[in-house]
Amino acid sequence: MSGEAVVVLSGGLSHERDVSLRSGRRASQALRDAGHEVHELDVSSSLLAQLIELGKPVVVPLLHGGAGEDGALRQALELADVPYVGSVSAACRVAFDKAIATPRVAAAGWATPAQIALPDDMFRELGAPTLVRALGAHLGFPMMVKPARSGSALGCAKVDRIEDLPAAMVQAYAYGGVAVIERFVSGREVAVAVIDTGDGPVALPAVEIIPDSGVYDYSARYTAGATRFIAPAGLEPDVAARCAELAIGAHTSLGLRDLSRTDLIIVTDGTPVFLEANVAPGLTETSTMPLAMEAADLELGTVLSQLVAQARERGTGA
């Protein structure tokens, strides 16, 4: 299907606009190198009109965070009968929200951190001091506080003492109305990409992430040189297989399609613990998905091109 026009959608109005633009640029170049005519579009009030004018080409949504990842935009594409690469809106709604995705993956039998999800108005109604104490008692320290619906580790904090919990909660709520509080899982940090080019989901080799600062935060993610990546991760074969199974298990139990990336922690006994699944995995210069493809001897452009062909064949999104 070389030469087919595609739209790479990046930018948007979320907190991760900058990351999305980086992903979009890289994916666009890869698709051009693979022979596609690429239109790079941002989300705006004229987007649907532009897509219709272009003859409804396949859209590759690389929007991170907010409407781009929570299913809203994909719902609109479905409504407009525009084919696109990636998971359907209903699955995105589930996967993007950690307060929903984590229990779903846990219910499918995979290891997940103990998690509590609380909207900010619960603290308003029930009184913060009591709830904060209960959180400490239930989960113990250290714990991770995260916005339920956010990416790139924005608004996330590791909390070691109960005194620091309120400030971490306030920071998470600056990104959205619901926060998840999880027991901190200590171990090796690994990302596993899953792609499905027609024969069912396949896990790519795991990529191990070792940030210089010890914390894989926003700076560590997007500053070249600040984090060491090992691809494939140096894992025992059985541990590598379990990581792959978990990634495919998350992909399947969340109903994801085409591609996803699962972030996980391998604890001391070799068990992989699910942290989150991403429906729009980052494709920036410092993202793990392109590294995983390279480790599997795959080219980003070829994989995207296959996914585009598949989306075209599938027709409309839903």
Binding site: A111, A128, G155, Y175, E245, I248
Partner: protein
């Protein structure tokens, strides 16, 4: 609500195993930092990191967002047709000179015209002592590279211009902030800072000051204070670097005489056409004592060979053929309406306990939030509510400023400014409520040196 799930062993389904085995071929392992030069970079670059705060500014240019973050002047009132004709004429008649290499110090005609411009603020300068630079930002760079060895101290107002702090950091200078009140730098604090730095055995190389409508605080240093600052620096043998991009944008009164106007020997004066004409030409200048000027010209030649010649010709033609003083009046009327909208909007929408400066010129207002709020921490909430500003921490080299934000009124229209302050008010109300809900302590917490927005952020 999720319940605790133990880390159980996993029973794999057979299809996934099959699929996994397809890719578990022996592959070469890559151990990478994705930057092969990571061990090679100069020490001065080590602090340069991608910042989540700076990334948030990427939404600021979107039309849905009211940006009170950037410092872009509004140049839509310029007579583009007239300038277009003049540029065409310039190329037709002087193109081979305007598009050729020029003098490292800058072209002589524009240096003469610059002396005329500076006379509006009481400065008597000689064209020989003017060095043209790529915006006054490059003058700052040349001055810093000329004076600073790693570890030397630069004194700067608290708060000070984020772009200057970035330059100082790039040359590994230590910035010591000097307290200000609403009349400018506090003389006692200045003297105290000089003495305490010297007592530690460190060298104070210069005082960096923006006496007119300081970026970010908007504070105008009074004439009396200017004299006092100049006297202290002269007596203590500390050079003054006077950065004056906004001086002619005095909205309520005539400009106050520049420090350089009464101290020619101990001041390097930096000027710019970015706010009085247009920033895209990148033409600024340094007026420096003879010996310093010699070094600046040599530094300029090694940096750029010569500052942009074509830009100098265009600006020179603009100054010669257009009523540029009247253009500044037009700009001032436009900025005054925007400043007034900002003042009205803040008065109407800021929650109790918020204070702000009342700038008499320039582009910026400095807001102090109610105790306990952290401007950097609430920026994501503001972006969600489609309003942007710069957190105060960007303007301190020492991690202070978390309770402050810089709001700009230069680029958005008065209506948008009012709307922006309304949205900001909502954001602050919500944040205050959540703070009181969690009973957060009011201790401000320091941040790492934060990045400001890029120059193309509106």
């Amino acid at each position: 609500m999720a319940s605790e799930v133990a880390c159980t062993s996993i029973v794999p389904t057979s299809p996934s195993l099959r699929q996994t085995s397809r890719v578990s071929l022996p592959l070469p392992r890559r151990d990478t930092r994705l930057d092969r030069y990571v061990e090679t970079y100069a020490e001065r670059t080590h602090g340069l990191k991608v910042s989540a705060v700076r990334a948030l500014f990427s939404v600021a240019n979107r039309p849905e967002v009211v940006s009170l973050a950037g410092g872009m002047p509004n140049i839509s009132d310029l007579p583009l047709d007239v300038i277009g004709e003049r540029v065409a004429e310039l190329i037709a008649t002087q193109g081979t000179r305007a598009m050729q290499y020029g003098s490292g110090q800058g072209e002589e005609p524009i240096r003469e015209q610059i002396c005329e411009v500076m006379s509006l603020e009481g400065i008597t300068g000689h064209p020989d002592d003017v060095t043209i630079t790529t915006g006054s930002q490059q003058a700052l760079d040349l001055v810093t590279r000329t004076f600073i060895d790693p570890g030397d101290v630069i004194l700067a107002e608290a708060p000070s211009y984020v772009g200057a702090l970035g330059t100082f950091q790039a040359y590994q200078a230590q910035v010591v902030h000097v307290a200000m009140d609403d009349e400018g730098i506090e003389p006692e604090a200045l003297l105290g800072a000089i003495r305490s730095v010297r007592a530690q055995g460190r060298k104070v190389k210069f005082l960096y000051t923006i006496p007119n409508f300081n970026n970010p605080s908007g504070i105008l240093t009074t004439l009396e204070r200017r004299h006092e600052v100049a006297r202290i620096c002269r007596e203590e043998n500390v050079l003054v670097v006077e950065d004056n991009p906004y001086g002619l944008l005095s909205l309520d009164a005539d400009p106050v005489p520049a420090i350089r106007s009464f101290d020619a020997e101990n001041v390097v004066y930096l000027g710019s056409f970015s706010k009085t004409f247009a920033p895209g030409f990148r033409v600024g200048w340094a007026l420096a004592p003879h010996a310093v000027r010699e070094k600046l010209v040599l530094a300029q030649e090694s940096a750029t060979l010569c500052p942009p010649v074509f830009s100098q010709f265009v600006i020179s033609a603009y100054l010669a053929n257009w009523d540029w003083k009247n253009q500044i009046t037009v700009f001032k009327d436009m900025y005054r309406a925007r400043r007034d909208a900002m003042m009205d909007g803040l008065a109407a929408h800021m929650p109790e306990g918020t204070t702000w400066t009342h700038p008499k010129g320039g582009f910026f207002v400095w807001v102090t939030l109610p105790e306990g709020l952290d401007a950097q921490a609430l920026l994501p909430r503001a972006v969600t509510n489609r309003v942007a500003y710069v957190p105060g921490t960007a303007f301190y080299a020492d991690g202070l400023g978390s309770r402050n934000m810089r709001l700009s009124y230069c680029f958005p229209t008065p209506e948008r400014i009012l709307e922006g302050t309304r949205r900001l008010g909502e954001v602050l109300d919500a944040e205050l409520e959540i703070h009181s809900m969690f009973g957060l302590e009011s201790t401000p917490h320091p941040h790492d040196l934060a990045a400001g927005p890029g120059p193309d952020v509106s």
